[in-house]
């Protein structure tokens, strides 16, 4: 991939689906998957999904469809913040810092319920595994397999940061070819050289290198109540501290020329996109420069990364499972032949879900599903 996965994988898929007439509804947060009650089922009828309850976080002006992508040098990209100018009350969201992706920010503009037959025929449940306990209480209460799945199939938070440097890798002291490296120091034991993105980004002065770092982020011991709305921010600050400490103390092992002395990263190597070239006097040449870069703590339940721990494969459920005859599931947490957390598994799983509700594609045609 010559650019980020969001831009090269998800954006084209989104555009292709739109062309085919798929209707997307952004800013709707699924709160509950409701099953039909046992006494509502006819003789011999299978259990089924009766309703889907959503919080409507925001509404789009003039009843239009939300346009999520921005154009960066001809490439459709996902921006890091939603475009509030398209939303009714948009300026209020900005002022009050609504975090639409946070599990702990429950603010909304309304609710909506979709009912079977009236509003939908089939449901493909593609949310991340971490969110299942929060929205699928009916399934978990009534179905032992769903209980087993959420109990045994583990997920983990992750943290990541990306920096843009004015020097290239050679100058930083890395003389080998560009690579992705792992099993280094924790946190951020994985480093991926992203310099190939330089050509895709729009800079007046091109960076010499781009580097991406990531690793798991330990859960905190106490459970986070919904009222703890600051939780994501706190963890984000924690990731910032981790990143700064790492650049000061650890990166020297890989990039010998990136530190002045041990414990002191050359902060002026970082490129601040907001800085004017002329304003050298105002430059921050200390740790505060880190704030111009990008980092995140992936702590939302849907963002948690799915693990394939030993002995847990048997708790996964297949998209082909027909226990609820208007529901299928899709994601790298299902059993799909490649039971690992990756986009490939998500794609195979999605195709299995497509087969579940439409018998197409043929199972034999799903690459990598059948194999010795």
């Amino acid at each position: 991939m010559n650019a980020g996965m969001g831009d090269t994988v998800f954006a084209p898929m989104y555009e292709a689906l739109k062309k085919r007439g798929v209707a997307f509804r952004f800013f709707h947060r699924l709160e509950r998957v409701t099953l039909a009650a046992p006494d509502e089922l006819a003789e011999g009828e299978r259990a089924y999904v009766k309703a889907l309850e959503f919080d409507v976080q925001a509404k789009v002006k003039n009843g239009k469809a939300y346009e999520p992508l921005i154009d960066v040098g001809g490439l459709p990209c996902w921006p890091s913040k939603p475009d509030c100018s398209q939303l009714i009350d948009g300026s209020r969201f900005e002022r009050e810092e609504w975090d639409f992706e946070s599990h702990w920010d429950k603010r909304k503009a309304g609710t909506k319920t979709l009912r079977v037959v009236d509003d939908f025929d089939f449901v493909v449940l593609g949310v991340g595994l971490g969110a299942i306990p929060h929205m699928c209480q009916d399934l978990i209460q009534r179905d032992q397999r769903w209980r087993d799945m959420v109990a045994h199939l583990k997920t983990v938070n992750t943290q990541a940061f990306q920096i843009w440097l004015s020097a290239d890798m050679e100058q930083l002291g890395w003389s080998d070819p560009p690579l992705a490296l792992s099993a280094f120091v924790q946190p951020f034991e994985t480093w991926a050289d992203m310099s190939h993105l330089i050509g895709e980004e729009r800079w007046k002065v091109r960076p010499g290198a781009i580097a991406y770092f990531c690793s798991a982020l330990k859960d905190q011991v106490s459970p986070r109540e919904l009222s703890d709305t600051n939780y994501p921010k706190r963890r984000r600050m924690e990731v910032r501290e981790n990143g700064i400490r790492y650049l000061n103390n650890d990166i020297v092992q890989l990039w010998p020329n990136a530190v002045r002395r041990r414990g002191e990263f050359k902060w002026d190597l970082l490129i601040d996109p907001t800085e004017k070239a002329s304003n050298r006097k105002g430059r921050r040449n200390n740790e505060a420069r880190f704030d111009s870069q990008y980092w995140r703590a992936n702590v939302n339940p849907t963002e948690r990364y799915v693990l394939s721990l030993p002995g847990t494969q048997k708790y996964r459920i297949s998209p082909l499972d027909n226990t609820y005859d208007n529901l299928t599931i899709a994601g790298d947490w299902t059993t799909c032949g490649l039971d690992a957390g990756c986009v490939e598994a998500a794609v195979i799983s999605g195709r299995l879900a497509a087969h579940a509700i439409s018998s197409s594609p043929a199972l034999e045609d799903i690459v990598a599903y059948d194999h010795p």
Partner: protein
């Protein structure tokens, strides 16, 4: 069956033929050596032709809901293979004309023409491999399997026919003839195109045996009609009249003549057929022709051809029973009358 001339068949042959021809040129490179190879490869395809085989493939695919593009690569491969076999056939039959012009080996000599024929055969692989991106690995492999089967049947049928001539076989019955036609002609001309077409369209979910029956009856009727035209065709016919007689080709008519003739006549016939083509004289060929007329061989063959056409229509009605009406469905049905009535 009705005698109404169909306009659907010629117009669909033209439509599917044009598309196939355009796609086919992409697979014929125009690079060196031109004079020795690549110009030869594109000669026969450029001479036109009915494009019956690729059209039937496309129609069968669309019968089951595939798009024209889904069947295009395979249609191109079929046409390339067909032209390759034409080159070889013309050499083996020592024919002098093809579609009104000199045959390839007459123009360039047997060695270069033979090499060109071999090359065209091999080049038909490329579009079959290109199927992968369009219809997926599994169907691509299935089509290659079907192609291998068809090529084998073709070779066996051709061997039978050539062997009969070489070794002067005279005790051949109608059943032998039908089996030879089944292998040599029907597989490439009518069975394989609709089989792989249906395979593509239905994603290999329907039983393909009914297509063997339909294709066989249709192809046999087609071949017998071809042989009849060789005897009674008019100026529009692109090959030489009585050419089959000159070659001693075992047509249904000749077999019937051998069977019906007196002992004396059979002996003379056998002697004539044992001679090589170059040694045959116009007097001898004219005598053979008169013998056929004496025993009503052309009438006999024509009746059989009509019977086979009827059987083809019957088989088609069985296999198409559950399919919705469409131009393609009518086209494949009307092909049957078209092969009988064409001249």
């Amino acid at each position: 069956m009705s005698g109404t001339t169909s306009t659907l068949v010629p117009s669909m042959l033209r439509e599917y033929g044009d598309v196939t021809r355009a796609a086919l040129t992409k697979y014929l490179p125009s690079r060196e050596p031109r004079r020795y190879l690549y110009d030869l490869l594109s000669d026969y395809p450029q001479r036109g032709g009915k494009m019956m085989r690729p059209s039937m493939c496309i129609a069968a695919a669309r019968l089951y809901g595939a798009s024209l593009e889904d069947a295009m690569h395979t249609a191109v491969a079929i046409e390339l293979l067909h032209n390759a076999l034409l080159i070889h056939d013309d050499i083996e039959d020592a024919s002098e004309k093809r579609r009104g012009l000199p045959t390839l080996h007459v123009l360039h000599g047997v060695p270069l023409a033979l090499n060109a024929g071999d090359t065209l055969t091999l080049m038909s692989l490329r579009p079959l491999i290109d199927n992968r991106s369009r219809i997926g690995e599994r169907l691509t492999l299935r089509i290659i399997e079907e192609t291998e089967r068809m090529a084998r049947e073709c070779a066996e049928g051709q061997a039978m026919e050539l062997g009969w001539r070489r070794y002067n076989a005279t005790d051949i019955g109608d059943a032998d003839y039908l089996e030879m036609v089944l292998k040599k002609t029907c597989w490439l001309a009518t069975i394989y195109p609709v089989r792989v077409g249906a395979l593509i369209g239905s994603r290999d979910s329907v039983n393909l045996d009914p297509f063997v029956r339909y294709g066989f009856f249709l192809g046999a009727a087609f071949q017998i009609q071809d042989d009849l035209l060789n005897l009674v065709g008019d100026d529009g016919y692109g090959k030489e009249i009585n050419g089959d007689l000159w070659e001693g080709k075992r047509t249904l008519m000749l077999i019937h003549a051998i069977r019906e003739s007196t002992t004396e006549e059979r002996r003379r016939l056998s002697r004539l057929l044992s001679r090589p083509r170059e040694a045959r004289t116009l007097v001898q060929v004219t005598w053979m022709r008169k013998l056929m007329d004496k025993y009503g061989c052309t009438e006999y063959a024509r009746k059989i051809a009509h019977g086979l056409a009827g059987a083809a229509l019957h088989e088609y009605s069985l296999l198409s029973a559950g399919l919705p009406d469409s131009r393609d469905k009518s086209f494949l049905e009307q092909m049957v009358t078209w092969v009988i009535e064409r001249n």
